[in-house]
Amino acid sequence: MRNLMLYMLQYYVRSYRYVSVLVVFIICTALIYSYKPISLGSNYSLTCTLMFLVSAWLAAGFIEVEAITQQQLTILYAKSENRYYMAKILLVWLLSFILSSIIIVYPVIFDFFVRPISGPELVGVFLAHGATGLLGIAVAVLFEARLISNRRTAILALVALLTVSAAGIILIKEYPFATYLSWILPPVSLMAEELMSLDLDEPTSYFSFVVAMGYSVLYSGILLVLYVKLMKRKLF
């Protein structure tokens, strides 16, 4: 698994596909932290949603970087399709988590917040960013070229889905019937809402946070299992 991931990482780095997503990430981070002081909850709620979008973009580029013929060879030599796809997902999640860590730790180090962040809050923020990052990856990989050959349709559908998911809270507030939609869509807004509560005098309970986390991870898990199953059925 480690060797597979090292190979995939070097392949990805040499493809330079990360450049555009990295540039956008840096610009967004700079913009978010250009005003100080900032409130803890609204900031992390925003960065959480941003990481959902960045991770999806990262995954969409990463998942297709390897040439199809080379994919055949790698799967053959990895001796397990499950191991191959798991290595891909794990690596892109690690890359996403590194970016998440930067966006989380940066304001803490430079003391940008109106109040200091506690240890448990920081752990919760990391977990939430990790979960939404995974969610973005799980959504994006389902639009891979081998699954949806029409690239224009795939990209448009992915962008639409990401936008609606990220704007979930606003949609629900504007249109109450969209509450039902929020249970079908990737629950990124659920996580964002949990983080937003850090600004309240009485933040939501740990239980509701754990439920939101659990739901996000379960949602991602189902999508990723579906992805691996579909890829195995599609197998070249």
Binding site: L4, Y7, Y11, R14, T69, Q72, L76, K232, L235, F236
Partner: protein, 281 residues
């Protein structure tokens, strides 16, 4: 008795509505070289991918020998991609993925590069900057590096010069002597004749097997050609053994199994077939 490494039973393969292979029954056995012949686009590459386990079956089964060691398969694809790695980096990664130790890979990779006449400078060139012939050599290197039990090669000689082809045939002979099972899809008839123990023809979605004796039988097709290029266009078709002109007629010696296919080609060119006769070596 030779061990069956891979067995295909009643295999059908479709891409969407298009039937590519129908009711394929084939076994790949130890110590045997199987050659797959057929026209371009007939499904040879798909059959090879199915044997390698890289193609999901529409129906039927693929069984792999589970006695002894895990079956090691080396695969040479038809078009090797231009990757962002140097030759050594690529071989190193492929070796590591297959669980080989670093020192072992370095030794093997250097030996392979030497045997394929790759200079020290060439080893450091990225695959994306290599010529088609050199790229094909890397494709072969990565496939044989792990000393596979089964070596599957899709057009291994394409893009290779005559010297490299000879080198490659020698290498295949060595592999054959060492007992490696091989499956070759190629248009080079001389390679089939020199290496293969069995030949199968892929035609009209069917895979028909023929024995060594059948391979030794051939047909002589005589036809009237108007231009030289019509004759030369047949030279690279799998199953064509010899082409020459005699008394104003073009004469083609073809494998018995490939006769119908080549006749169809000749007729499709609008040429008149004078005679078809059976012959044996």
């Amino acid at each position: 008795m030779n061990k069956e490494l891979v067995v295909l039973r009643n295999v059908n393969k479709r891409y969407g509505d298009k039937l590519i292979l129908e009711d394929v029954n084939l076994s790949i056995v130890d110590n045997q070289v199987l050659s797959v012949v057929g026209a371009n686009g007939c499904g040879k590459s798909t059959l090879l991918k199915i044997i390698a386990g890289l193609c999901a079956l529409s129906s039927g089964t693929r069984q792999v020998d589970k006695t002894g060691d895990t079956l090691r398969i080396g695969y040479v694809p038809e078009r090797f991609p231009k990757l962002p790695f140097t030759v050594m980096e690529y071989l190193f990664h492929m070796g590591k993925i297959q669980g080989l130790a670093k020192a072992h890979i370095e030794r093997l990779a250097n030996e392979l590069c030497d045997s394929f006449n790759f200079s020290a400078a060439m080893k450091k060139i990225r695959l994306s900057n290599l010529s088609k012939g050199s790229l094909q050599k890397v494709a072969v290197m990565q496939a044989i590096m792990i000393k596979p039990h089964l070596l599957i090669m899709d057009e291994p000689l394409s893009g290779q010069d005559v010297k490299s082809q000879e080198l490659f045939i020698e290498l295949l002979r060595d592999f054959k002597k060492s007992g490696t099972a091989m499956v070759l899809a190629c248009h080079e008839q001389y390679l089939v004749e020199r290496i293969a123990d069995r030949v199968v023809l892929v035609e009209d979605q069917k895979v028909s097997s023929c024995s060594k004796q059948a391979k030794e039988r051939f047909r002589i097709i005589c036809f009237k050609a108007e231009e030289q290029r019509q004759i030369t266009s047949l030279e690279r078709i799998a199953g064509v053994r010899r082409i020459f002109t005699k008394e104003g007629l073009a004469v083609v010696h073809v494998d018995e199994v490939a006769c119908n296919l080549i006749l169809t080609r000749i007729i499709a060119m609008g040429l008149v077939v004078e005679s078809v006769n059976a012959a044996a070596e």
